[in-house]
C-alpha cells in the first residue's frame, strides 16, 4: 500500500478533511464543555455526606466507566426514540460524549480535591469560612492546578472518541478518511492523513495546557 502512496489524492480530498477537522474541533469543544458541567455536578454530588446524592452519582460514574462508549452511544441513539425523543445525530453525539467524559471528569475533580492537604481545610474552618467560601477560595483554585494535566488527558481522549460518531452519520474527521478508503480504495492514504490531523490536535491541546499551566503560575507543569 505504501509503494503507491498517493499524496495527490490526499490533496484532492483535503477540503473534505478540512471540513471533517472543523466538525471534530467544534463538536469536541461543545462536548468537553458539557463534560465539565456534568463532571462538576457529579463531583459536587459525590462530595455530599448524604447518601441520597452520593449513591446515584457513584452508580452513574461506575456504569459509564465500566461500559464502552459504543454501547452508550447506541443506548442513547436507539433508546431515546423509543421514549419519543428524536434528536439530530449531532446532538445525540455531543450528548453521548459529554455524558461519557463527564464521569471521568468527575473522578479527576474528586482526585484534585482529595489532593489538598488536610491542614488547609482546617485552617479555612478555623478562620470561620463557610463551606462555599472554603470551596471557592481555598480548595478549588488549588484543585484546579492539579486537575489541569488529567483534564487535558481526558480532552485528548474525547477528541479521539469523537471518531465513533461516524457510526451515527456525523461527518467528522475519521469519516473523511473512511470515504477515501471506500470511494477510492486508498485506506493507507485515508488513515494516515487522519492520524496526522489528530496528532495536530493533540499537540494543540498539549500546548494549550502548558500555556494555561504557566498562566496559573504552575511552575514545572508536566503534561
Amino acid at each position: 500500500m505504501l509503494e503507491n502512496f498517493s499524496f495527490r489524492t490526499i490533496v484532492e480530498y483535503l477540503p473534505l478533511f478540512g471540513q471533517g477537522l472543523v466538525t471534530t474541533v467544534w463538536l469536541s469543544v461543545l462536548a468537553f464543555a458539557g463534560a465539565l458541567a456534568v463532571g462538576i455536578v457529579l463531583a459536587a454530588m459525590n462530595q455530599q455526606r448524604g447518601r441520597l446524592f452520593r449513591i446515584p452519582a457513584k452508580a452513574y460514574i461506575d456504569a459509564v466507566r465500566a461500559t464502552p462508549l459504543l454501547a452508550q452511544l447506541y443506548f442513547l441513539y436507539f433508546g431515546l426514540p423509543r421514549l419519543g425523543i428524536i434528536l439530530p445525530e449531532l446532538v445525540v453525539g455531543i450528548l453521548a460524549l459529554s455524558l461519557n467524559s463527564g464521569a471521568y471528569v468527575a473522578e479527576i475533580i474528586r482526585a484534585g480535591i482529595l489532593s489538598i492537604p488536610h491542614g488547609q481545610v482546617e485552617a479555612g474552618v478555623a478562620s470561620g469560612m463557610t463551606y462555599v467560601q472554603r470551596m471557592r477560595l481555598v480548595i478549588l483554585p488549588q484543585a484546579f492546578k492539579v486537575t489541569i494535566p488529567p483534564l487535558l488527558g481526558q480532552a485528548i481522549v474525547l477528541v479521539k472518541d469523537s471518531a465513533l460518531l461516524s457510526l451515527i452519520a456525523v461527518a467528522e474527521l475519521t469519516r473523511a478518511g473512511q470515504l477515501l478508503a471506500s470511494d477510492r480504495f486508498m485506506p493507507a492514504e485515508g488513515f494516515i492523513t487522519i492520524a496526522a490531523f489528530y496528532l495536530l490536535l493533540y499537540y494543540g491541546l498539549k500546548g494549550l495546557a502548558a500555556l494555561s499551566g504557566r498562566w496559573l503560575g504552575l511552575a514545572g507543569a508536566q503534561t
Binding site: L2, A66, F75, F78, R134, F191, Y198
Partner: protein
C-alpha cells in the same frame, strides 16, 4: 417481536462467550506486558539521560495523539511491507501492549515526580546507588500515586481492545456487530454487549477504589 429477538439472542450465546474470551485474553496478555514495559519506560524517562527521555516522550506523544485504529492498521497491514508479517492475534497484542505501555509510562512518570526531591537527596546523601534509590525510596512512594490510575487504565485498555475487530479478531464488540445483522435491535444487542464489558470491568473499578481508599486512609482523608 421482542420475545422473538430475545430467543434469537439466547441462541447466540456460544458466539458471545467466544467474543468475551477473546476480549479477556487479549486484554490480560497486553496489560501484563504493557505494565512491565510501561514501568520500564517511565523509569527511563525520569532518568538522567536527555536523549532517551526525549525519544520516549516523543513516542508516547505519537501514540497518545493518534487514533488506535490507525496504529493497529499500520502494525497489521503496513509492517508486512517492511518484511514483518504478523497474524491478527499477535498484531492485536503488540498494538494493545504498546498503547498500554505508553499510557502507563505517563502514569509512572507522574508518580515518580510526585516523590519529594528531599527524599531523593536524602537517599543520595546516605550513599544509595541509583537503582537502590529507585527501588527502595522512590518507587514505594510513587506506587501510592500510581496504583489507582493504573487500575483505571486497565479498564480503558479492556474497552480499547474492541478496535481489534478491524483486523478480523472476533471480540465481544464484533460479536455485537455480527448479531445485530440478524437481530436488528441495536439498543438490545449493544445493551447486552455493554453488560458483558461491565462484568469484566466493574471488579477492576471497585479494586481501584479500594486501593484509593487505603491510600487515602493512610494519608488522612480530606474532609471538606
Amino acid at each position: 417481536m421482542i420475545w422473538q429477538q430475545l430467543q434469537s439472542l439466547a441462541g447466540s450465546y456460544p458466539l458471545a462467550l467466544r467474543g468475551l474470551g477473546m476480549t479477556v485474553v487479549l486484554s490480560l496478555i497486553s496489560l501484563v506486558l504493557g505494565t512491565l514495559i510501561g514501568f520500564g519506560l517511565g523509569i527511563l524517562r525520569t532518568g538522567g539521560n536527555r536523549l532517551i527521555s526525549g525519544v520516549i516522550g516523543a513516542w508516547v506523544d505519537l501514540i497518545r495523539g493518534t487514533p488506535f485504529l490507525v496504529q493497529i492498521f499500520l502494525i497489521f497491514f503496513i509492517l508486512p511491507e517492511l518484511g514483518i508479517e504478523l497474524d491478527a492475534f499477535s498484531a492485536g497484542i503488540i498494538a494493545l501492549t504498546n498503547l498500554a505501555a505508553c499510557f502507563i509510562c505517563e502514569i509512572v512518570v507522574a508518580g515518580i515526580r510526585s516523590v519529594p526531591t528531599g527524599q531523593v537527596e536524602a537517599a543520595l546523601a546516605s550513599g544509595l546507588s541509583r537503582w537502590q534509590r529507585m527501588r527502595q525510596v522512590v518507587l514505594p512512594q510513587a506506587m501510592r500515586i500510581v496504583l489507582p490510575p493504573l487500575v483505571g487504565q486497565y479498564v480503558l485498555l479492556i474497552k480499547d481492545s474492541s478496535v481489534v475487530s478491524a483486523i478480523g479478531l472476533t471480540d465481544l464488540t464484533r460479536v455485537g456487530w455480527l448479531v445485530v445483522q440478524r437481530v436488528p435491535n441495536g439498543l438490545l444487542v449493544f445493551f447486552l454487549i455493554g453488560l458483558g464489558y461491565f462484568i469484566v470491568c466493574y471488579p477492576l473499578i471497585l479494586l481501584a477504589r479500594r486501593l484509593e481508599q487505603r491510600i487515602g486512609a493512610a494519608h488522612g482523608e480530606v474532609q471538606i
